[in-house]
Symmetry: C2
Subunit: 510 residues, 2 copies
């Protein structure tokens, strides 16, 4: 089920497809370009040594979850109350010994399954926002309808490879029941891979059970779910996350182990300090999963942002955040597990220039660092507090460009285009050249949102901003949405399970 694949196959295949004139969108992106490094061997080794000092001397707190302490005691760690100190190298060796370097996350439509790790990059939408916003209705608390609309839109957007998880919080549904509706939405309105609930161990179990039903009654050992297990940084795990991680890992479902760091608050203000801490936290969390079930797929995650020195508010799309992404991606490669980070992040409250600068300044480093699993790849606004439907469309367009970028430079004879020069007069344009005509249709990425027309044409069409054009696009896409096929019996079984589970307990607000 887990696989290691070389680069050349993907590149050659993509380039062959391009030469054949097809405009194909794969179920996930393959990178042919090597990841960018911003720190040398000496620097990375220093950070690894610092992480080991943190793990062995400062330790990590595993709070409110005695089972984790038992596992660590058995593994040879020093457990002092809820504080665990690890012999140097213990966490790392637990991870490198059994965690797969890549794995397939299966979708209920097998053509949508994605590779997480290796030269693959998987884009998933926004996660966790209590609000949604659009140009028509403005900002408001999200509802299940907003959630379903996001899933439906994501289903139709080809460069979002993944349906995501809590794409927004459906606050009109009780906290202890909304995970059932969210998981159902992903399985009913999409056939892309998705994320399970982590807000309680029993909700994790519900997620797995619904996936089992949707996959025809048995997962047969397949990894059908990923999740988001956040550390309570600094240097701490809580019972909710540990309990959910244990449920997933024991079922061979993938845990995305993510330190969540606003530098200055949850870590020191420096990139090297943040990196050592995040490495220590990620190693301890991934090692915990390996103790639960050796070989359980894990993803090394990092969410890192800087902050405003004026107000303490988190900031995004900053150079410090980009440097952290490059460093953490390199550290994850050295551990040998897939890496999650980045996205299209912004602190802006509107889908405006600030939102776009900050999003692009997050996405390009995400791509160039070789991140494998990219949460928040589209739709994120307001530091994650709101999902913007317009920004979902705008961001998605940028994701499509990453696909082209990742494919690198075509050095085939056709790519070199030497025949074009032999036949083109000096100073005359190439528009009618045979090489141009043969390649024009697929030569350049086609943006679905950018307006490249003249000023006069743009003005005559209403002087629309990019956000206004995106507004029309998402509404049209929602109008034209058609659900993927789902077996009626499967649907009924899922609904029956959900009805039963909802009836078992009263609504609760946690």
């Amino acid at each position: 089920m887990n696989e290691r694949r070389g680069r050349s196959g993907g590149r050659a295949a993509r380039q062959a497809a391009r030469r054949a004139g097809r405009q194909e969108v794969a179920s996930y992106l393959r990178r042919t370009l090597p990841p960018v490094e911003v720190l040398d061997e000496e620097g990375l080794l220093q950070i690894e040594q610092n992480a080991e000092i943190i793990l062995s001397e400062v330790g990590i707190a595993f709070q409110g979850y005695p089972r984790a302490l038992d596992l660590w005691r058995e593994a040879g760690a020093d457990v002092d109350g809820e504080l665990v100190r690890f012999p140097p190298g213990l966490c790392r060796s637990l991870v490198t010994a059994t965690a797969p370097s890549s794995f397939v996350q299966h979708a209920r439509n097998t053509e949508r399954s994605v590779l997480i790790g290796g030269d693959a990059t998987v884009f998933a939408p926004n996660y966790g926002s209590p609000f949604v916003t659009d140009l028509d209705k403005g900002r408001r608390y999200a509802t299940l309808e907003d959630f379903e609309n996001t899933v439906k839109l994501t289903y139709g957007l080809p460069h979002l490879h993944h349906s995501g998880g809590t794409v927004c919080e459906p606050v009109d549904i009780a906290v202890n029941k909304r995970h059932l509706d969210m998981v159902y939405s992903h399985l009913r309105y999409s056939d892309k891979p998705f994320m399970g609930s982590v807000t309680a161990p029993e909700r994790a179990a519900d997620s797995i059970e619904l996936a089992r039903i949707a996959f025809g009654g048995s997962l047969e050992g397949r990894t059908a779910l990923v999740n988001l297990i956040n550390a309570s940084s600094p240097l701490r795990w809580d019972a909710t996350m540990l309990g959910s991680a244990e449920v997933y890992a024991s079922h061979n479902q993938a845990c995305v182990i993510s330190p969540f760091i606003l530098a200055g608050a949850m870590s020191p203000v420096t990139v090297a300090g943040l990196a050592a801490q995040a490495l220590a936290e990620a190693l301890s969390g991934m090692a915990f999963c390996q103790l639960v079930r050796p070989g359980a797929p894990v993803v090394f995650g990092t969410f890192a942002s800087s902050m405003s020195m004026a107000t303490g508010a988190p900031t995004f799309g900053t150079p410090e955040g980009a440097l952290a992404t490059y460093v953490m991606a390199a550290l994850a490669r050295r551990v040998g597990v897939p890496f999650r980070s980045g996205g299209q992040l912004t602190a802006s409250k509107a889908p405006d220039a600030q939102a776009a600068y900050e999003s692009a300044a997050t996405l390009l480093p995400t791509m160039m660092a070789g991140v494998h699993f990219v949460l928040h790849a589209a739709g994120w606004l307001e530091g994650g507090l709101a999902l913007s439907f317009e920004k979902l469309i705008l961001d998605h367009d940028q994701l499509g460009m990453m696909d082209v970028y990742a494919n690198g430079v075509d050095m085939s004879p056709n790519g070199q285009a030497m025949d074009a020069f032999a036949t083109n007069p000096h100073g005359e344009h190439f528009l009618g050249n045979g090489h141009t005509l043969a390649n024009f249709e697929n030569a350049f990425y086609r943006s679905s949102v950018a307006d490249n027309n003249s000023f006069e044409q743009w003005r005559d069409e209403g002087s629309l901003t990019a956000a206004q054009r995106a507004n029309a696009i998402w509404k049209q896409r929602l109008d034209e949405y058609e659900a993927p096929p789902l077996d009626d019996a499967v649907d009924e079984e899922m609904l029956a399970y959900i009805g039963r589970r909802k009836a078992e307990e009263p609504d609760a607000i946690v």
Copy 2:
């Protein structure tokens, strides 16, 4: 005058300054990170070989300028009418033999002089727009007042290291005289380095003469001017550009030799095809400058964009453009001369999300490719047809972030922050930690435009977009503008020269 400088001095000095708690802005940016490569040795060599085939078999037209044909004949090239075919390696060897790998462009304020080449990156504003636009007055033809305002704003923006050249076209001044007003503006309202006129050889000579006056009566061999010499791609130079280049080169002023390519029109549609052509064109132009004056400083330039397959309109911020920038920067490094490309380019008609996505997707590759001289680094809108005052401010903020990025990861003991972990309780924030307090002020780049406040605060302050905030900023900056000191006698001498030159000929429209 020309220099090669190592990386470590700059980095250590900057990091020392950072540790000392100063927030300094240098007169130009130094990069400590190695440039990103997207093509391997084999690919680059193939493109170089293709360029030699173009130079030796297809040839380059030098039109309307017999002096260039004479120089090429003497140098051993095959001159057939106006078409020049070059023995393989001739252009390259002419450039590598005498062109400096880097040079200082002197400013009249010596503290503003910039290094062009090596590990330096110099940001210059928008160039060549016939229109200006702002949120108050909308889009209109540019005037000398707009030009002067742009120079004044650029003077006060610390991350624009250079005053630029034709920051916009002052169309209210006769074409044959506006260069005098433009050069005067750069020398009167700024003391940053700037660019001379290239629209006629005598206007190039005027530019040099005004610089001579402003520099105290003699340039003493110093390079005080750079320019923009565009090829009439494909594979062609015209008399205007050759004549201007000859004037500058013979006075040891720097020529930025720039193929101007909209792929599909002025070159084949592929990156590798575009690259071979641009290399051939740049080598032939730079070699011409070396024939004029061996050792004259030259910059290898490339302006490359893709196009809309629907309309043929140029497009910006695309992955194809980014790949071209990386490839051309690598080719220039192999020639061993400074490289000009990139900027913050967009086809958008407004300073909106499209403008920002496209600008960031141009700037980050510009930076990561290691471009030395960056024209259009701020203010460019509408495919270069308009300068936006709001975008000048927005783009400048992004340039400041590049400075932080270029400095890389601080691996000093303070950067590693290990003392912070030793004293911070698990799960408690670092805001009060001694390490945080000692570093907080200079830990993160301070954006001058981004709004990182809460939604409620942003709403209560008027729900302003980034462009609206930038509108207030540029107007305030212009209100507060103070001119740099200029000797009255120098000013009078410049004005007398300009008056005399303007009186010598009637107004003309070319």
